[in-house]
């Protein structure tokens, strides 16, 4: 893809951010990430097992990718802020994918806590990428609070339902002062294409690739999908019409 985009002054070429959870094994994960063409790879911050070191994500991926830590599992601004600070110390990055969950079952973001955490982390020098609702007002408030991008959900995390409300995503993209990265709900390649067609700068996904029957192949499909969506967006789609309009010329028809 020729055109790059910027988040907080960092130029990114790939419009696909990919997660590291739930792959059948380490090699499939590494192959899938390579096939995805992603530059930004997400990780979580978890308590270490004191019974023995697990393999380090830093050693595995740190030299080839931009590691984007998340605050997944946090349900208050306070927890999320501490997790972000630990992530900054662990990974030597001030980028944070900020997740503050308000409901355990739907994993929907808690907008108030999210905004509070965004303000606090921005004041502390973080580049904050909040995972948020597909609501233009929430997105605007987060951008006003200093978020470097906004990451509205397509549909619930891990659901694979795709973009439940494309009109909302399109509105958010049209009005956002910061890049919009569609996060959560992607099920297959066409969902990722749609996100870019609607005006998103990028897509963040994990489960759609990790849990595909063939993660490597799906990762390659996702790479092509965001490229197709971005190109189609740039090319400009035709207006939708209610009735047919013949594409062949109507002059010189035989028998008239």
């Amino acid at each position: 893809m020729s055109d790059s985009f910027e988040i907080a002054g960092r130029r990114l070429t790939s419009r696909l951010f990919i997660g590291t959870a739930g792959y059948p094994n380490r090699q499939v994960m590494l192959d899938a990430i390579t096939a995805s063409g992603a530059e930004v790879v997400t990780v979580s911050i978890r308590r270490i097992s004191l019974e023995g070191y697990a393999e380090s994500m830093v050693d595995l991926l740190g030299s080839d990718y931009v590691l984007l830590p998340n605050t997944a599992g946090c349900s208050t601004a306070r927890e999320a802020v501490l997790t972000a600070r630990l992530a900054r110390e662990a990974l030597d990055t001030n980028w944070i994918k900020l997740e503050v969950i308000g409901d355990r079952e739907t994993l929907h973001p808690d907008v108030e806590e999210l905004r509070r955490a965004t303000e606090e982390l921005v004041a502390d020098g973080f580049t904050v990428l909040p995972y948020c609702n597909d609501d233009p007002v929430s997105c605007r408030k987060l951008a006003d609070a200093g978020a470097a991008a906004v990451m509205p959900l397509g549909s619930p995390i891990g659901s694979g339902l795709g973009i439940a409300n494309p009109h909302a995503i399109e509105l958010i993209c049209a009005r956002s002062s910061v890049p919009v990265i569609l996060d959560a709900g992607i099920g297959t390649a066409s969902d990722a294409t749609l996100a870019l067609e609607l005006g998103c700068s990028a897509v963040l996904l994990n489960t759609a690739v990790a849990k595909a029957r063939d993660p490597r192949r799906m990762a390659a499909a996702m790479r092509a999908a965001v490229e197709a969506g971005y190109a189609a967006r740039g090319a400009g789609r035709i207006p939708k019409r209610t009735y047919a309009q013949a594409s062949s010329p109507q002059l010189g028809l035989i028998g008239t």
């Binding site: 997660g19 590291t20 959870a21 739930g22 792959y23 994960m29 997400t42 990780v43 979580s44 911050i45 978890r46 308590r47 270490i48 004191l50 023995g52 070191y53 697990a54 380090s56 994500m57 830093v58 050693d59 740190g62 590691l67 830590p69 998340n70 997944a72 501490l82 600070r85 630990l86 992530a87 900054r88 110390e89 662990a90 990974l91 995390i157 963040l204 996904l205 994990n206 489960t207």
Partner: protein
């Protein structure tokens, strides 16, 4: 005569006897060596940069979190 209760701390959510006075020694006892890549520590809700592990003292009731990057989405 009062019974002596040895000091305890909380490590990653588990209560345990305080095995070392200084943070770096306690971490070393758990296999976390100073300069270990990707490890971060918070004491009572505040991050302790690895450069300060050696001069951070531990006390009864302290709450320690030791974390590292893990798989995530």
């Amino acid at each position: 005569m009062t019974r002596h209760i040895p000091p305890h701390i909380q490590v990653n959510g588990q209560r345990e006897p305080l095995a070392a006075v200084m943070l770096d020694a306690l971490l070393r006892g758990k296999g976390v060596v100073p300069g270990a890549r990707g490890v971060a520590v918070a004491l009572n809700g505040e991050v302790v940069p690895s450069g300060r592990w050696a001069d951070t003292a531990l006390a009864e009731g302290d709450d320690l979190e030791i974390v590292h990057p893990f798989s995530g989405g």
